[in-house]
């Protein structure tokens, strides 16, 4: 029921908003806030209630597909948190937009509710056709809102945004149709079965189409062309939603609709990881040079999401919780920053960094909040960003020292651009007048402050977010089996095993050389004119190296085990010491 | 005398052709609209004519569909006339040759 409400009720709310006054933002905002609060309450209930699932209802049949598409929703912890981001950010956006887009607030609210419904649908869909439907549907209200409420180049940016993202997911639609001709129906588990049994070349083509759609939406490095202009031209509350919740749809898709479905070969995994890192570096460097405050934030978001994608494709054990915390932290902090920058733009009438400055003196409360949120975005330990970044760093370190170093570089660069940003906006000489009636209101301030406090709370106790993580609950598996009429023998944990299998694939590359390899090497050397003794000694050396490594691994394992023992014995002693 | 189905169809065809020709050849948009209506009704007639060839139980469907079509056509005529009036107000002209805004 909750799931249906979260997906469908926003659309109903959008329709109801039509009934409110167009001229008077006060009265229409009251209804909008009411709805917004109700949705936030629902998504909190969703998180508190644990995994849920609806009855799978047959929706329609796609020509050529083997089975029907279902209207089927289920929630996992990952999707519930994404839903909270979408509803929460929408609420705060509605609050700040009242004074920012005074004229025609009603239409703005209608658009926001439609966007929220589409985003919730994207995160909660358990059927790939439904997912794709909402994934595309998100673009339309967002583009309309940009075109209606944006800055100077709003038409151009709305067009760029809509065309880029729709074209990006067009190949996915084709691939999707192809998958559906193979799958019994379009539910997640049937799709998994179908994809796993596809022949490798088709599988790879489908994978690339899927990846493309999600990479455009996130965005990942070469496909980021729409991002900066859309985020900077969109009204700030909308930018907050776009970066805080909608861009997460890309990462979410990569996790749920790519990692879970496809058997991944190491080549694709490492390519994606490096693309993610390249995005992170690229975003940080571009943010260093940006002179438009919202462009800077856009590039900073891009950098963080790049890091998240790199983390996803590090495929370590702690990937999911770390990335989830990182996403939640980024959603809250980047969202808050965009909202604050929107208020700053309203107060000063500009968002060029060179023309801003000294806001801390003139509007101290705004300045404090701005600084506070910037510190959250810096991922100082104790904030949720740190838990996420450290977890991702740990995952990347397991993939190799170089990715971790690059990620470390990004963290340094992020400090550099964020401090520059803070310095240019709130410190220094005051360069622009602040209109008194356009200052931050108490309601805006407190709602953004709540986001900042949440970041602190998640940072000090990330278990709020990370406990009981799963992709697909048992109930969801049962429901999907019932709907498709075949019992899926795969347990709910199949996704984890899937991941570890892929990780094993990575390991296999570095495995010691087998006898076969040695023989091969020997004949190669002989062909290249090495003498008998030379070959023998070379191979002997190689064998010894291998053996040492194996020993080392074994010993390291042993040490590991004893270390844990030691830690275990240490703990009671420590408690004893306290008495 | 039992009406032969083919004559109904011939009549429908003739009316359709008249409608189409009117729609294409007249410059006054009111006539264009009338031509379109004529063509639409010709199709209704064709429907009923074919329905007559079927046994009674099945012919009902063929007779109901034109009823729907008439209802839709009424709505369409409303919208169409309203549009024509708006266009006339804005452009002070009912000559379809004057309207080429759609050309990209």
């Amino acid at each position: 029921m909750l799931l249906h409400l979260l997906v469908l009720a926003p659309f109903i709310a959008a329709i109801l908003m039509v009934a409110t006054s167009k001229e008077d933002p006060k009265s229409s905002s009251r209804l909008a806030f009411l709805f917004g609060i109700a949705f936030v309450a629902m998504s909190v209930a969703l998180i508190a209630g644990g995994a849920q699932t609806t009855q799978a209802m047959e929706w329609f049949r796609i020509p050529g597909a083997k089975g029907p598409a279902f209207y089927y929703l289920y929630s996992s912890s990952l999707s519930s948190w994404m839903v909270l981001l979408s509803t929460g950010l929408s609420l705060v956006a509605l609050i700040t937009a009242r004074n920012t887009t005074c004229k025609n607030y009603r239409n703005f609210a209608i658009g926001i509710f439609a966007l929220m419904g589409a985003m919730n649908g994207t995160f909660l869909a358990g059927d790939i056709v439904l997912f794709f439907f909402f994934f595309e549907a998100m673009v339309i209200p967002a583009a309309v809102l940009i075109a209606g409420f944006g800055g100077k180049e709003r038409t151009k940016s709305a067009m760029t945004f809509a065309i880029y993202t729709l074209v990006g997911s067009a190949p996915m639609m084709v691939a999707l149709w192809y998958v559906l001709t193979k799958a019994d129906n379009s539910l997640l588990l049937s799709v998994i079965t179908a994809v796993q049994t596809m022949d490798p070349s088709a599988q790879k083509a489908v994978l690339i189409c899927f990846l493309l759609a999600f990479m455009v939406k996130t965005p990942i490095f070469p496909f980021h062309g729409w991002q900066a202009i859309s985020y900077s031209e969109a009204p700030a509350p909308l930018s907050a939603i776009l970066t805080g919740a909608m861009s997460k749809a890309g990462v979410f898709g990569l996790i749920v609709w790519v990692l879970v479905i496809f058997p991944l070969d190491p080549g694709v995994v490492s390519t994606m990881m490096w693309l993610g890192l390249a995005t992170a570096v690229y975003g940080a460097l571009m943010a260093l040079r940006a002179n438009d405050a919202k462009k800077l934030l856009a590039f900073s978001s891009m950098g963080h999401l790049g890091l998240a994608v790199a983390g996803v494709f590090s495929l370590s054990e702690s990937m999911l919780p770390a990335v989830l915390v990182l996403l939640v932290a980024h959603g809250l902090s980047a969202g808050a920053q965009f909202l604050l920058m929107g208020i700053g733009e309203r107060m000063t009438g500009t968002r060029e960094l060179d023309k801003l400055g000294g806001l801390a003196r003139k509007t101290p409360v705004f300045g404090s909040l701005f600084g506070f949120v910037a510190v959250m975005a810096l991922a100082v330990p104790g904030t949720a960003g740190f838990v996420g970044e450290f977890g991702v760093l740990l995952s990347l370190w397991n993939a190799g020292p170089l990715p971790a170093l690059v990620a470390g570089l990004c963290i340094i660069l992020s400090a550099a651009y964020m401090l520059r940003f803070v310095q240019k906006v709130i410190f220094g000489e005051q360069k622009c007048e602040v209109a008194d009636e356009k200052r931050m209101t108490a309601l805006e301030g407190s709602s953004i402050a709540i986001m900042a406090v949440l970041l602190l709370a998640f940072g000090m106790h990330p278990a709020f977010v990370t406990k009981d993580l799963n992709f697909v609950s048992d109930e969801a598996v049962a429901e999907m089996s019932k709907a498709s009429g075949t019992a899926f023998a795969i347990p709910a944990k199949e996704s984890d095993e899937d991941l570890s299998a892929a990780a094993d694939g990575v390991d296999a590359v570095a495995a010691p050389m087998s006898e076969e390899d040695f023989r091969q090497l020997d004949s190669n050397l002989a062909a290249n004119g090495f003498s008998e003794e030379e070959r023998a000694s070379l191979i002997k050396q190689l064998r010894e190296m291998d053996k040492e490594e194996a020993d080392l691994n074994a010993q390291a394992d042993e040490i590991d085990a004893t270390a844990k023992e030691a830690a275990a014995t240490e703990a009671p002693a420590a408690e004893g010491g306290n008495k | 005398m039992e009406l032969q189905a083919i004559y109904v169809q011939i009549l429908a065809l003739v009316i359709f052709a008249i409608g189409l020709i009117v729609a294409i050849s007249r410059r006054n948009i009111f006539f264009v609209l009338m031509g379109v209506e004529l063509a639409l009704n010709a199709v209704n007639l064709s429907f009923v004519g074919f329905a007559k060839t079927l046994p009674a139980a099945q012919s009902v469907a063929g007779q109901i569909v034109p009823l729907f079509a008439i209802a839709v056509a009424a709505a369409e005529a409303c919208v169409g006339l309203a549009m024509v009036i708006m266009i006339f107000r804005n452009r002070e002209s009912v000559d379809s040759n004057d309207f080429s805004n759609m050309k990209g």
């Binding site: 571009m286 838990v387 220094g428 830690a567 240490e570 010491g577 | -």
Partner: protein
């Protein structure tokens, strides 16, 4: 008697931070801030309560220390860390002087910051700093230490840029944070390396020690040495950032842009010594990796020498003290590098007193001269501000190591340990002694230029010179007393070794594992040489600066010419890296991004051209369009019929 829970200690400053922060934000709108007396009382109360609880705990501490785990912090598959505290000999000493000096400096700040617009905000930051610093030294795991580690860095950023209407202060603050961030990444990577060899469990100090003991006893040392060396190196990079060692030291002189109490508390007494603390905390790991220890010694030696020479060239009174701090930190690192962790912590301890006293004295001088920091415009102040001069003189005696003062005991101890450390020992000792001479020279120069001779400022300003108020003088006097007496906690030559015994349970075992050749030199020789070095330095300074005419102060107080090259050597090197980053960013912005945009434009252009071509099929007349479409339908029907229908 049951002990206080350990988390009480950080709790007090945290309450203070939240309370003062809220008051600061609420009152920021009003013209006249809240009553300074009330805020000041709050601001001193919480550090004082923390100090009181530390003292209470310190008195009742069992030999093996107190441990308590508060709750779970992070619990994800590869990373399980608790929030726990460890109160042992090392953290006891650190906490005692951190909270003690923190309280004194908070008291001093009430006078120094009087009338400032951000009075409340300042104390909120100070309380936050104390919270972070307490967490840093009290935590029982590396990750929680890192929370404090970045927390103090953040507070340092906030306080350096406290007067944020001046962009230069902000830039200094940014520099401090970013340079520290570079070091922090080292710390992070170090933790990652440790996680690889033992899982996240060994981020806990006790588990780490147990782990290391186990591999030593199990004979697996050779396998983990490469990892441990890498981790040690990474942690050392973290330490160079926080403790301003080569190569990450450029931020500390710039950090003097902050209010003077901040320089005293953060950039002299407490935060900058956290690197030394970390080395001592991880001593059991560092003694296994002698190569890294050698690097630490060499870096410490170079830093000590370089900064001492740079200190000679400064005209700004706070800059002299900043370089002196770097130099003294170099001593501490040298000591840690020869595995004399207790000696390095001892120097941290004494240095905290005399350097805080020096900074507070300098602050009082600046306060009395209404903000003047250039020593060339001072002089003859001993008569005008006698108490400040007395405090400064006592601290001066301590830092140059006159016998009996605190610095004498700790510095001589370090030099002695350096000498016996191994084949390179005498060389290290020699450089250390030379640095001691230079230290004496620049400190004497500071004292002579400030307090003796004739007043060189304008006649106008001379009338306003006044002694600081009592709330500033009391902390200064107390710290000066510390600068005189702190050394007697470990005065080996007269048989006092309280300090060594206090640290014995923490670092004793590790230090014992590094066997040094027994000293064949009479300790009195070291003492004599040290004293001679100090006296020699004073004499040189007296000859050079005592009588000489001080050049007229022109322009800024920054050194020029070759002196500038020496002073800003590392700034120049950092500048290269910044320039490199900027060039790369420029390339990314102007080449790569433009390329991506060009490709986008190209695709869009091709599509547009195709679209235009298709659009030209469209005819202008509506009726013709209609006719054509009808013709098209007819054509389709004909084709379908001719080819045999749809089905």
């Amino acid at each position: 008697m049951t002990n206080l829970p350990l988390w009480f200690i950080p709790l007090f400053p945290l309450i203070g931070t939240v309370l003062l922060g809220v008051i600061a934000v609420i009152s920021s709108g009003s013209k006249k801030g809240p009553s300074e007396g009330f805020i000041g009382a709050l601001a001193v109360l919480f550090p004082a309560l923390a100090f009181a609880s530390v003292v209470l705990l310190a008195l009742n501490m069992p030999a093996e220390g107190l441990r308590s785990t508060l709750c779970n912090w992070i619990d994800i598959p590869m990373l399980k860390v608790d929030i726990g505290f460890l109160f042992d000999g090392l953290s006891r000493i650190m906490l005692l002087f951190v909270t003690g000096i923190g309280t004194l400096i908070a008291l001093y700040s009430i006078g120094y910051m009087h009338g400032d617009r951000g009075f409340t905000r300042f104390f909120a930051y100070i309380n936050l700093f104390l919270f972070s610093m307490i967490v840093l030294v009290l935590s029982d795991s590396l990750l929680l230490t890192f929370l404090g580690w970045e927390g103090v860095g953040l507070c340092s950023y906030l306080l350096i840029g406290f007067w944020n209407h001046d962009v230069n202060n902000c830039k200094a603050a940014n520099k401090a944070f970013i340079v520290n961030r570079v070091g922090d990444i080292g710390f992070l990577l170090g933790m990652l390396v440790l996680c690889t060899i033992g899982g996240s469990a060994i981020l806990n100090y006790d588990s780490l020690a147990a782990f290391i003991q186990m591999i030593v006893s199990g004979g697996h040392v050779d396998i983990v040495i490469p990892f441990l060396s890498l981790a040690g190196l990474c942690f050392f990079i973290g330490c160079t950032g926080k403790s301003a060692q080569i190569p990450l030291l450029t931020w500390l002189p710039d950090a003097m842009a902050g209010p003077t109490p901040v320089s005293a508390l953060i950039h002299a007494a407490t935060m900058v010594t956290s690197g030394v603390y970390l080395l001592a905390r991880l001593c059991s790991m560092f003694v296994l990796i002698p190569d890294v220890l050698t690097i630490i010694t060499v870096v410490g030696m170079l830093t000590a020498f370089w900064a001492a020479v740079a200190g000679l060239f400064q005209n700004d009174i706070k800059k002299v003290l900043a370089y002196s701090t770097i130099s003294q930190l170099g001593y501490m690192f040298m000591a840690a590098g020869v595995a004399a962790f207790d000696a390095s912590i001892f120097h941290v301890f004494t240095h905290a007193f005399f350097k805080a006293a020096l900074f507070l004295g300098a602050g009082a001088v600046i306060h009395s001269l209404a903000g003047e920091q250039d020593m060339r415009k001072m002089g003859g102040l001993a008569k005008k501000v006698p108490v400040t001069a007395g405090v400064m003189l006592l601290a001066f005696a301590a830092i140059i190591g006159l016998p009996g003062f605190a610095g004498f005991w700790s510095k001589d101890l370090i030099l002695e340990k350096l000498y016996v450390s191994g084949p390179m020992g005498p060389f290290f000792y020699g450089v250390g002694l030379l640095t001691a001479v230079i230290t004496a020279v620049y400190m004497s120069r500071l004292i002579i230029l400030t307090f003796f001779g004739e007043y060189r400022g304008s006649k106008e300003s001379e009338k306003h010179i006044h002694e600081a108020p009592a709330c500033m003088l009391i902390p200064m006097v107390l710290l000066a007393a510390g600068a005189v007496g702190a050394g007697y906690l470990w005065a080996e030559s007269i048989g006092l070794t309280t300090f060594e015994q206090a640290l014995e349970p923490v670092v004793g075992a590790a230090q014992a594992s590094v066997i040094h050749a027994a000293a064949h030199v009479n300790p009195m020789v070291f003492a004599g040489l040290g004293t001679a070095a100090a006296l020699l330095g004073v004499a040189i300074a007296y000859v050079k600066f005592g009588k000489a005419r001080i050049p007229e102060a022109k322009g800024s107080s920054a050194p020029t010419g070759k002196m500038a090259t020496w002073t800003f050597l590392f700034d120049i090197i950092h500048g290269w890296f910044v320039a490199l980053t900027n060039i790369v960013a420029w390339i990314v912005d102007n080449c790569i991004d433009k390329l991506v945009q060009f490709v986008q434009w190209l695709i869009a252009g091709i599509v547009e051209i195709l679209g235009d071509g298709a659009a030209s099929f469209q005819v202008r007349k509506v009726r013709l369009q209609l006719a054509l479409s009808v013709a098209g339908v007819v054509a389709l029907v004909v084709v379908v019929l001719l080819t045999g229908g749809l089905i």
